[in-house]
């Protein structure tokens, strides 16, 4: 981090030379190269909804849902705790490489999953009160609703704010620490909630 000096715990700092400032790799907050891929995915999603055929809707819902669940579980329960224990330079380098990609991937897979899922349930009639497992479907709405509020209200603003802070000539390490904590805790909660999604979706799939 520019202008921020840190030393590893237990290591005596060199007195003869000032510690090197942490280097922040060059990065784009929103990776422009990824935007065409996102645009293609969204156009294909609109086409899938417009043609209203079972296979494309199943594909977008299942592929998007699998990506969403796996990313949340992996980030929240595996990568998040690892990131929390990394040294500050390593965490910053990892953050500048991971978070811009997440900024494009997550809204895209979430939109794919939910839009295709709603259209699929409308086509199959599984969102109607007459469906035998209607209670489970409503439970999935609630779980997704809670996850959306957490992701939109806490996770995404923290993600963007960390990247904007890292773009400053002299980023404030306390701000980054605070926002990263928010990001990691939030990702952990979302990861745990994805377990509930798995329970509900496997129940719905098995009838």
């Amino acid at each position: 981090m520019a202008g921020v000096a840190t030393t590893a715990p237990g290591v005596k700092p060199h007195t003869e030379a000032p510690p090197h400032p942490i280097q922040i790799p060059e990065f784009e907050i929103v990776p422009r190269r990824g935007l065409p891929i996102v645009a293609v995915a969204l156009v294909l999603l609109i086409v899938a909804i417009a043609v209203n055929k079972l296979w494309p809707l199943e594909f977008f819902h299942v592929a998007g849902g699998a990506a969403w669940t796996i990313i949340d579980l992996f980030l929240g329960l595996i990568l998040g705790p690892i990131m929390g224990r990394l040294s500050v330079p390593a965490r910053i380098e990892f953050t500048t490489r991971l978070m811009p990609k997440m900024l494009l991937i997550m809204p895209t897979v979430v939109t794919m999953t939910l839009a295709a899922g709603w259209q699929l349930s409308t086509k199959l009639g599984t969102n109607l009160t007459s469906y035998p497992n209607h209670g489970w479907v409503v439970a999935s709405f609630i779980v997704v609703g809670v996850m959306s509020v957490l992701a939109l209200g806490l996770l995404e603003p923290a993600n963007i704010a960390v990247l904007c802070e890292l773009k400053k000539p002299r980023p404030n390490p306390e701000v980054i620490e605070r926002l990263m904590k928010r990001f990691i805790y939030c990702a952990g909660i979302l990861g745990a909630m994805q377990v509930a999604t798995l329970v509900i979706m496997t129940k719905l799939a098995s009838g």
Partner: protein, 138 residues
Amino acid sequence: MTERELPPVTALAMASLTLIVAGGIYLSAHLPQHVSLVPAVVLLVGSALLLFINLALLARVQDFAWDRFFEVAKWSLLAYAIIAGMIEYAFVRDHLHGGALVVLTLSLVIFAVHVPTLVGFTVARYAEPAAVGKRAAA
């Protein structure tokens, strides 16, 4: 780090989003029955009130990095307007009409305004206001 006194924008925005999500769940959980729109309208009005309170509180903040706020919020607004437009398209595609369509459309408007406001605020609260930057440079 000394924290500036700022209005509870994040808490109010999350409460507002929770209300419209609850309204959406209420309506979608009763399909295809025609249920009373009153609970959904009450939740929508509550959510809109929280949005207006949030914007009013935010507008009164002194020495805020408004340039940074608008820079981030306008791009977020574009992204969330596209997402809200896609959801609206799905509603119309499924022949949703009448009061339910109005309630859900207004909910999407609140969603598309409140999330960019929150993103812009979270970035701008840690940014230096332009006036302070100019004073420091002088």
